[in-house]
Subunit: 101 residues, 2 copies
DNA sequence: GGGATATATAACCATATAGATATATTTCTG
DNA sequence: CAGAAATATATCTATATGGTTATATATCCC
């Protein structure tokens, strides 16, 4: 599963958002997502295959934690489009580009 | 069609990449994508619904041009994850955040 | 050991998606 | 006006996706 496919699903983005704050167990994420436990486990499997989460077993619990590194791929995709955007980061980068010249 | 769904499809990212350089006609994009013409028209329809392209009719031709603005949504999604990344932009932003304090 | 708890997997279903081919529509050109 | 060219739409098909319920597996606790 590639990064783009992994983050296109709104519930998975929600799960990532939750784990951004702190590692979570499956049951916690079930409550947050409002889905059945198997559905959440399925999403987590996809996130794990995309390397967006890492798991630490702890007895019968599993702590799922964010690994944001693959999101760099998305960031790199956006890169060449930033010149068409007008947000803060874009202006920052433009400034940097000007400095580079 | 939301922005994420629009850009998850690799062929659509390829089409966006082509239009990033210059507006293109459908036939040109057919050659670039290596798909049937109806398939490309379908992708373009999706990109148009996502507001990622704009069309300018020109006789029997249609010039499709990039509109990168909706990509800001993706950029905003990435925003809170940047602190977990380690690329150039991230360091830039951290620098900015430090300045803000 | 045995029941409760936490999670994963299997099986199934409905819907969405991406592609193809066939055809319609519009515009150009001789 | 007639045929060619450019694009859009209709229809169909195969596969992927996201959800469910049922069940398996592993661990905790009395």
């Amino acid at each position: 599963m590639d990064t783009f496919s992994a983050i296109v699903e709104p519930k998975r983005r929600l799960l990532l958002e939750a784990m951004r704050r702190q590692p979570c167990t499956v049951n916690t994420l079930v409550e947050i997502a409002g889905l059945s436990q198997p559905a959440v486990s399925k999403h987590l499997k996809i996130l794990k295959e995309a390397n967006l989460v890492v798991v630490r077993p702890d007895g019968q619990k599993r702590w799922y934690a964010l690994n944001a590194q693959p999101l760099e791929e998305v960031d790199h995709f956006l890169e060449p489009y930033r010149q068409f955007l007008s947000n803060k980061l874009d202006r920052l980068e433009q400034h940097l580009n000007e400095m580079d010249q």
